[in-house]
Amino acid sequence: MSAPAMASAPERLGSVSTDSALELRGVTKLFGALAAISDVTMTVRSGERRAVLGSNGAGKTTLFNCVTGDFLPTSGTIRLFGEDVTRFPAYERVRRGLRRTYQISLLFGGLTVADNVYLACRGVSRGRYSMLRPRRGDALVQRAKELIAAVNLTEVTTTPVSELSYGQQRQLEIALALAGAPRLILFDEPAAGLSPTERVELIRILTDMPGHIGYIIIEHDMDVALRVAESVTMMHNGRVFKEGTPEEIENDPEVQALYLGGGDE
C-alpha cells in the first residue's frame, strides 16, 4: 500500500483522542424473536488488527452491520474512537474514520473504476454537493489514482465496474475502503472466492497497510485470518465465545472441537 494514498487527512468530524478505536457494550440485535447477536462486549484498540471467527450464523456480519450503522442495535452501546455513535446514521460514522467492505461486492456497476474510487474519496471530504467538475490535477483525483495503483487496477481505470472480473471487484472493494484516511476498517470475508494467487496478494495488501489503520476481519479461511490478525474473537450463536492471540485460539481445545469437529453444523 503506498503511503501517500492515505497521507492527507480529510475533514473528520468530532474526533476524540482515545486509545480504543471501537468499544461495544452489551450489544444485542433481535430480528423478531431471534437474537442474531446477544450481549456482545468487545474492545478494539487503535491500530489493532482483529479477526472475528465463527461458523455461519454466528452473528459476525450482523455485528458489522451494527457497528457501521446499517442496523441499529436493539440494546447496548457502540463507541467509536471514544464517541457514542449508537444512534448515528451510517454516513456520520464513516466521516469519523470507519470503513467497511462487503461480503458480496456492493459497487457502482454503471460507473467506471475511477469514478468509484473518486466517490469513495469524495464521501469524507468537502464538496459532496459540488456542481463543478474537478479540475485537472485535483487532489482527490490524484488520491483516487494512487489508490487504484495500490490495488493494481491501473489498467482498468476507465472500465465500467460491471465489466470487471470477480477478483478485480474484490480489489476495488479494498480500494474503496482505503479511500479518505480511514482509522478502522471492517473487512467482511475479503478472501471469499479468490484464487490462491489473489489470496497472497490480499494478505500482502492487508499486512502492508500503514500502522495507524486498525481493522477487523471476518474470514472463513483460517490461514488468511490468523496470518493478518494480532488478536482473535471467536463468536458462536451470536455471543463472544473466546478471545485471544491467534496461537491461543488455534490451540484451544474447545475451538478445535467447534471448528474441526464440526460443532453444531
Binding site: T68, G69, D70, P89, A90, Y91, V94, R95, R99, R100, Y102, L106, L107, F108, G109, G110, L111, T112, A114, D115, N116, Y118, L119, A120, R122, G123, V124, G127, R128, Y129, S130, M131, L132, R133, P134, R136, V141, A144, K145, T154, E155, T157, T158, L176, A179, G180
Partner: protein, 355 residues
C-alpha cells in the same frame, strides 16, 4: 468520459487533452447549425408550435430524466412544478386578471417564480425520497393530482377553473419574444442551456454521487454520503429546470389553467421521457419532438383516413405501447443497438473492425 479520462495523465495527446469543442462529434455541430438556420426556411407554425413546444416539453421531461436516469427516482411532479412556475409568472407579473396579478417587473417575477417552484419541488422531493420505485410514483402522482384539484378549486390565488390569460413575455430589448422567430430562439437557447447544465452536472461530484446512489444507496451511505439529503437536492436541481420550462410554457400558451398540470399532462411528461429514453439528456428532447409531431399532425392523418381527429391519443398510446414492447429504453436505446449492430458487422469472430 470520466472524472479523469486517461490512465496516463502525463502523456499529452489523444482524448482528454483535446479542446472541448474538438471532443464534440461533428454530427452535433451539424444539428446545432441546422437548428440555428431553421428560421430561414421553416414557417411560423413549425417554429412556434412544433419546435417551441418541443423545446419546452423537452426541458420539463429533461428534469424527469435527470431524476430518473441519474437518480433512479421516477417523479411525476415535474409538470406540476412547471405549472406552478407558470402560475407564479401570471400572479406576480401581469395577466388578463388584473385584480389577481401584481404586475411586478420581469426581473422580480421570474426569479420569484423559479424559487417558489424549486421550494415546492424540494418539499415534494423530501416526501418522496424515502420511498422507492412504485411508491415514489404513487406519492408524486398523488401530490400532482392534489395540485390540479387545488388550483381548480382555489379562486383567491389561482383563479380556479379559468386560470389566467394574456400572460405574455416582457418586451425586452425591444423584441416581442412571443413572435415565432424570437420565441423559437428563446426556447431553443434555454433548452440548450438546461441540456448542457445536465451534461455538466452529471460529471461533477453532485451528479456522480447521484448516480452512485442510483446504483447502490446503501453503499453510498457507507462511503460517507447522506443519501436522503442528496436525493432531495436532486429534486431541487430538477425543479429549477422544470420551472424554466413552465415559464416558457405559460408564455407560449399566453394562458395557464388547471388543465396545464392535469393528470393527462403529468403522464405525458413521463411518456415523453420514456419514448425518448432516460439514459441520456438528449432522450427527452427526442421524445418531445415525436410527441409534438404526433399530437400536431395525427388528427389530420386520422381525418384523412376516415377516423375522428380526436383519436390522436390512440396513436400516441399505440406508439408508446409498441416502443416499450420493443425498446424499453426508448428511441435512444434503439439507436444505441443499431450502432452496436453496425460496429459488430466487422469481424464476426472478434467483434472488431467494421465501423
Amino acid at each position: 468520459m470520466a472524472v479523469f479520462d486517461t490512465t496516463e495523465p502525463q502523456t499529452a495527446g489523444a482524448g482528454a487533452d483535446r479542446a472541448w469543442w474538438e471532443r464534440i462529434p461533428a454530427a452535433w455541430w451539424a444539428l446545432l447549425a441546422l437548428l440555428v438556420v431553421l428560421p430561414a426556411f421553416a414557417n411560423d407554425f413549425v417554429l412556434f408550435q412544433v419546435m417551441g413546444w418541443t423545446f419546452i416539453l423537452g426541458m420539463i421531461a429533461l428534469s424527469l430524466m435527470f431524476l430518473a436516469g441519474y437518480g433512479g427516482m421516477v417523479s411525476l411532479i415535474q409538470m406540476s412544478v412547471a405549472a406552478l412556475a407558470g402560475y407564479m409568472v401570471a400572479i406576480f407579473g401581469t395577466s388578463g386578471m388584473a385584480e389577481l396579478s401584481m404586475g411586478l417587473p420581469w426581473w422580480v417575477y421570474i426569479p420569484v417564480a423559479i424559487v417558489i417552484a424549486a421550494i415546492f419541488g424540494t418539499i415534494v422531493g423530501a416526501l418522496a425520497v424515502r420511498t422507492e420505485g412504485i411508491y415514489t410514483i404513487m406519492i408524486t402522482l398523488a401530490i400532482a393530482s392534489a395540485f390540479f384539484y387545488f388550483t381548480r378549486q382555489n379562486y383567491a390565488i389561482f383563479n380556479g377553473y379559468s386560470g389566467f390569460n394574456l400572460v405574455v413575455p416582457p418586451q425586452l430589448f425591444g423584441v416581442d419574444w412571443r413572435q415565432p422567430v424570437p420565441f423559437y430562439y428563446l426556447t431553443g437557447a434555454m433548452a440548450l442551456v438546461c441540456y448542457l447544465a445536465v451534461i455538466y452536472v452529471s460529471r461533477a461530484p453532485f451528479g456522480l454521487v447521484l448516480q452512485g446512489i442510483r446504483d447502490n444507496p446503501r453503499r453510498m451511505a457507507a462511503l460517507g454520503y447522506n443519501v436522503t439529503a442528496h436525493r432531495i437536492a436532486a429534486y431541487t436541481f430538477a425543479s429549477v429546470i422544470a420551472a424554466l420550462g413552465g415559464i416558457l410554457l405559460v408564455w407560449q400558451n399566453a394562458q395557464i389553467a388547471p388543465g396545464t398540470a392535469g393528470i393527462p399532462a403529468v403522464i405525458d411528461i413521463l411518456v415523453i421521457a420514456v419514448i425518448g429514453g432516460i439514459g441520456r439528456p438528449i432522450g427527452p428532447f427526442i421524445g418531445a419532438l415525436i410527441y409534438v409531431l404526433l399530437r400536431t399532425f395525427s388528427p389530420d392523418v386520422l381525418t384523412a383516413i376516415g377516423f375522428e381527429g380526436e383519436r390522436f391519443k390512440l396513436l400516441v398510446g399505440l406508439g408508446f405501447l409498441a416502443l416499450v414492447f420493443w425498446s424499453p429504453d426508448g428511441v435512444l436505446g434503439m439507436w444505441d443497438r443499431w450502432r452496436a449492430g453496425r460496429a459488430r458487422a466487422g469481424d464476426p469472430l472478434t467483434g472488431k473492425g467494421g465501423q
